[in-house]
Structures are given as structure tokens and as C-alpha cells.
Amino acid sequence: MDTPNCFHCGLDIVKEDEIIFDEKKFCCSGCKTVYEIFALNDMTCYYDFENSPGATPQDIKGKYDFLENESIVSKLLEFKEDTTAIVSLNIPHIHCSSCIWILENLQRLQEGIISSQVNFPEKTVRVTFNPTKTNLKAIVNLLSSIGYEPYISLENYESGKINHDRSLTYRLGVAFFSFGNIMLLSFPEYFEVGEYWLEHYKGFFRWLIFALSLPSFFYSANIYYVSAYKSIKSGMLNIDIPIALGIIIFFIRSTFDIVMDYGSGFFDSLTGLIFFMLLGKMFQIKTYSFLSFERDFKSYFPIAITRIKDTVEESIPIYDIQKGDRLLIRNQELIPVDGILITEKAAIDYSFVTGEAIPITKKSGDKVFAGGKQIGKAIEMDVLHTVSQSYLTQLWSNDVFQKKVEQKHKTITDKVSRYFTPILLIISFLGFGYWIFIDLNTAFNVFTAVLIVACPCALALTAPFTFGNVLRILGKKKFYLKNALVIEQLAKVTTIVFDKTGTITTNKKSNITYEGKSLSTIQLGILKNSLQASNHPLSRMLYDFLPDAKKMKISHFNEITGKGIEANIDNHKIQVGSSNFVKKTEETSIQQTTVHIKIDEEYYGKFIFNNEYRKGLSELFNHLSSNYQIKVLSGDNEGERPILEKLLPKNTELVFNQKPEQKLEFIKKLQEKGENVMMVGDGLNDAGALAQSNIGISISENVNVFSPACDAILDASQFQKLNYFLKLSKKAITTIKMSFGLSILYNIIGLTYALTGNLLPLVAAIIMPLSTITIVSFVTIMSNFYSKNLK
């Protein structure tokens, strides 16, 4: 029980704040309260499954008042009847078995909740409750009070229920059913053909096999027919054409064999082939259900906002906001529309948009843009534009977001099949042409046998299994790709464009330096104590930066939004804050973020917050610059140029003062020059560029938090491994090429049987699984080998 960390949330306990309750130590009263709730309900085994699994509950007073609005609630509910309602809530904090346990026992914490079920991979909880006894707001408040605050955004408001696509699972099940039973039934005929009993029952066996193959042929394989038809229609030869052709010929030839009593047909190989290919498809789909790659501003924006109308506060859905409305934005709430600030001062954090963690101060009358988060006291603002016409949201009306991108490029398999298909047809016709002069019957046999044998099963399996495997390897290394096609795209990249703030800089910590008269230990202690009560990000950063100090008595404390802190500590008066506040002079250079210090009316100096670049940045850029063109785009001013120039390789192009649309245009221009562009960004202002680029990678400090629509999400801690990921994707392509060689070898062996007219069902039944197994193991071993040995 005796841990230096908080019993509930596991964070370090600051000695002064320690609360001992029930012989357990807590870091704050929030954590203690959660423990109390659980203890009162005899639910403390929450702490048995996992050590300190909890999260400190956030202050949510009034935040969910909008859930009293019936029309909003009805949009969020999955299902509603008189006594039952179901809602699915996304809870980012779900991370361990304790979470599952507590969330599935919610009915013991609140009457009216009937049951709740957690979906761990998706981090959602589905609550069934009785709306006459409780309501959504109460449930959300309960969840928040125990540290599991749900994330409710505009996205939930529109999408409602999510449908799982299970058709591939069905197809696979059907294919396996057919395959298994047919294999069993065709076994006898592999060994003895002329045996008496076999002879006697062969009709029964064969027709049964035929019947069993029908569901596989007509249902499971039908995706290949559809895809082949589509590709013929669009004039793009893809791999599905020879596959579909092979399957159909397979089926016709086998049926013909049975009808004419020539043999038992190839139904075993046919169904096996369909099964294995579907398995490959399944393997290639590796979804990270807790991540979303399709996010736009809707995932960030709240559902409702408080409007002040005739001094009455009311919650309205944000789509109902009209120009001229007066809005109330509380602490930590997102500003949904552009407007003019009415309240005297506001500190707005635009980190969602720009990646910049330090809030910007706005004065009354200033324009505030949508996407910012209010920090501190509640503010009032007048609406200038509606949601869809705001500066940031307008970006989404760009064409890039409108078109559904079908497939931007040809896959490597499709490229090979462009040659494969014609060659295959030529060989089969040549074989047919040769045999037709000798024996018409054999000629038909040869013709069909070639198409059967060459059915590019191994070829089609190569890419899915390689990509599927690489996808998993990358996932383990915290690089999450949207789908397998991204790997191919990664291998083709020629130019890499980086966003600056939040992408190559980290917003977690700043590089702080001090300029001015030196401060004594006592003075540093005073400073640290004065910062303790402030929640301003700069205060927090400076607080963490300063050395530990004794706790002192604070007799007076006043934080002035947008200015700084004034405090009296141990009879010393201290002022910390902006230059204007401390020195009464405007600062000359605006390119630095600074905090000024004044103790006992004497000005000491300033702390300068420099951007902290990510670890291993210049090393990574040096490696990358030998193979790629590198460019850095920034929405900021040129203040950082000299530092960046020193840090990055000489040929790196630096572009500053870029608006979101300009970033998009920049990428477009590069693409018009024939470059394959990879964009690495983080904030919503990069969303356009991420969508326009061939691959958009979004960097995320915490993958559970939201990142804009992109093709891949990279955990920020893995940033320096980017070069490794690019190399691995290239090796994946190499593996595929080698494996193509192998599968063509199998095809040649098969073809020699086919062309000489000797293709027996047994031969087909051996070649097919053999090639499949070797190909699959080859690509798996190779990709694992590369992932381990690359540096």
C-alpha cells in the first residue's frame, strides 16, 4: 500500500498537497473523492486489477449543461424507447482491465443504469439506461466525476450509429465451409481411381462436391468478379481480372469434367484458392479501431455552446449559431466560430490549430478565430460568421476534402498484372493452337488448364501478406497506418514537407533561458511559490523548470488574465508576467515568448521560452536529406530562421508565414512538378496540406487525442525513427518483388504440366497450397528480417 505515488492516479505526490485518507495516499482531493465514491459502494477492487489505474477528475461544472437539451440528446442516443435508451460514449481514458471493470459496473453507482458494456479496442462504453429514472447528463457527469470523462464532439452529433462491415468475415466463413467439406470429400479420389466402391459412389461424391462449391463460387468470390468488371470498365487492368478469369474457367472446366465423367474436377483447388485469397485480404486489413484517420474539424468542435440572449444563458447546437449572437465560452471550451471578443481580456490556446502550446492574449474588440480554446475565466464574444463560414472551417470546403479519393495510384500488383494478363492469354492460345492439330479434346483441356494453373493466386497473396505484416510491425513501433496501400506510397516518396510548430518542435516542454540580473535561491523560491497556483501554461512550464523550493506562505495572490501574477510571499512583493505588466513598456521584439520578473519593485530580468526541437531532429534531417528533398513550412514569422538554418542541413527549404490554404497550394505545386510529397504535420491548419499530399502523416503527442484526417499517425516519441520507417517500406516493396519471382517460378512449373496436357486434380491440389504456404512464409520471414536488421 505504501507508494510514493498517488493511490488513485499514480502521479507523483507533491509533499505539501498529500492527502491521507483510509490509510492511502492521494495527490489531490479529486483523486480522493473518486476513491471515496468507490469505497462507499464497495467497489475498491477497482484498485486490485491494476495499480493506480485512475485519472484525476476534471472540473466539469456546467460543461455538459447542453445535455439537457432534448433535441441534442436524441441525436446522441443510439436507441430510445419509454424505459430503455442506449448511448455509446467515447472515453479516451480507457486503458486497462480496471477501467473495464468499473465501467461495466456503473449500474451500482447510479440508479437507472441498466447495463453497460465496454469495447476496449474502440475505447467506447455502451450504456443502456432507463430514461425515466436517470438521464444522459447525469450519466456523463457520473463518468466525469470518477475520472472517465467522455469525449462528445460534433462528430457524434452527425454520425450516430456506426455500422460494422462484416461482409468479408461472412465471405471467409462461407469459403472455409466449402473448402473444408470439399477437401474431405475429394480425398478418396486422390489415391484410388479405379477402385470398385469408389467407382460406385463417385457420382454421389462429385455432385455433392459440386453443390458445396456453389456458395463459395457465387458468394465468396463475387468481390473478384465485381472488381474485375470495374477495372475492365475503367480500362485499368488489375490483378483481379486474371483471378476472376481463372476462377470462372476453373468452375466451368470442373463442371464440364463431372458432367462428361472425365474426372473429379478441380473443385478442391478452386475453393482452396478462394479461401486463401480472402484470407490474404482479411490479413491485410489491420484496423486501429481506437484511431480515426478521417477526422475533420467536427471531431474537435463541441456539440453545443452557451448563448446569452436577453441575459438568459441557454445551450444551443452550434449549427444554430447566428451572426450577431452573443456567446459565452467557459474555461477549456473551444471557440466554434469567428467573432469579436467582448470581455476585456482572454488567453486563447490555439494548439489544436497551429500546434503552438502557448496561449495568445486577446483584448476586447479583437477578432478571435474558431478553433481556439479559452483558458481561464469565461469570456463573452459576438459572432461574426456562422460555423461553416469561419476562417478555419472554410478550409474544408476546398476540393481536396470533397472528392472521395478512390485510388490515387496503381498498386505494384496491378502493375505486374498488366503484363501478366496478356502473356497468360497468349500462352493459353498458343497451347490451344498447338494441340488443336493433334487432338481437339486435349486442346480444350490445355487451354483451360493454363488459365487454371496460372491463376495468380500466389501473385495475389504476396502483397496482402507482406503489407499486412509490415503494417503490424509498424503498429508495434507506434506508427499507425490507415491501410496497406500507404506502405507502397511511403516507398515512393521523393519530397518530405514538415510543419514547424508542434511537428518538429515539441509542445510538451520548452527550452527556457534566463536573461538579466541573477536571482538568489530565496528569490527563486518566491518565484516558484508564486507560480504554483497559476494554471497558465507558461507558469506551468516555468514552474517545472525552476529548482525545487520550500513552500512559503502566500498572503496575497492575484492572477490577471493576459497580464501576469501579482503576489505577496513572505513579505516580498513579486510580479511575474508580460513586459507591459511588469515594466510598463511594450516589448520591442515580438518574436520571443518571455516572462518578466519584478521582485519588491525591482526589475530583475526575463525568462525566454525558445522552441524546443524534437530529440534527434538534425540527425534525422541529415539522414533524410541524402535521399529526399526536405522542406519546412511554418505559419509563424521568420523569428526562428537562424536557429533552424543552423540545425538543419543546408539544402532544406524554409518557408514562413504560410496560411492553411497556402500550405495546401505549396504541396499542390510540388506535385505538379512530379514530386511524390509526404506531408508531416499536426494541427488542424495542416489538414488541407495533409489531404492534398500523397501521404499525410500526423504527429501526435498522445495518440488517444485527436489528430486531423491523414494517412498515418505517428506517435511523437517515435519521430526520430521516421527514416527507419521509410526504409522499411522500401524493403517491403523489395520483398514483394522477390516473392513475385518465386511465384512466377511456380507458375512456370504449373504451366509445363498444363501445356503438356497432364494437369491432374491431384497436381493442382498439391501445387496450389504449396505455393501459397511458401509465399506466405517467405514474405513474413523476409519482412520480419528487414524490420529487425534495418537501422
Binding site: E36, I37, L40, N41, D42, M43, C45, D48, S97, I100, W101, E104, N105, R108, L109, Q110, E111, Q117, V118, N119, F120, P121, E122, A138, L142, H164, R166, T169, Y170, G173, V174, F177, G180, N181, L184, L185, W197, H200, Y201, F204, L208, L212
Partner: protein
């Protein structure tokens, strides 16, 4: 030897039963979440021990 008809039919029927069970399982969403159930099944023991407590305390706490 015509018992073979019977045997094969039985084997097919059994196979179809399993197939139907599979389809039913997929339809029920049993394959949508393949992690949580594995954790959930370990919880059952704790539940019994705590049941008798009344819910009144809960209510007070909420207010």
C-alpha cells in the same frame, strides 16, 4: 454400403450447424471486439461478494 449416404449426410448436417453458428456469432457482433470479453470473464467472482450492499449510499453521494 449405402450407409455412406447416411454418414455423409450427417457429416454435412453437422458442418452446416457449425456454419450457421458461425454466421450467428458474426451477426451478433462477437467478432467486433476480440479483447474485452477475455478480460471480462475474469471479473465474475468479485461481483457476488459485493452484491448485498444497498444502493442508498450511492444516491446520497450523487447529490
Amino acid at each position: 454400403m449405402s450407409v455412406i449416404y447416411l454418414l455423409i449426410s450427417i457429416s454435412i448436417i453437422v458442418a452446416v450447424c457449425f456454419f450457421v453458428a458461425f454466421i450467428w456469432a458474426v451477426k451478433n457482433g462477437q467478432y467486433d471486439d476480440d479483447y474485452t470479453p477475455s478480460v471480462r470473464m475474469l471479473f465474475d467472482d468479485e461481483l457476488k461478494k459485493v452484491k448485498p450492499k444497498s444502493k442508498r449510499i450511492t444516491k446520497e453521494k450523487q447529490i
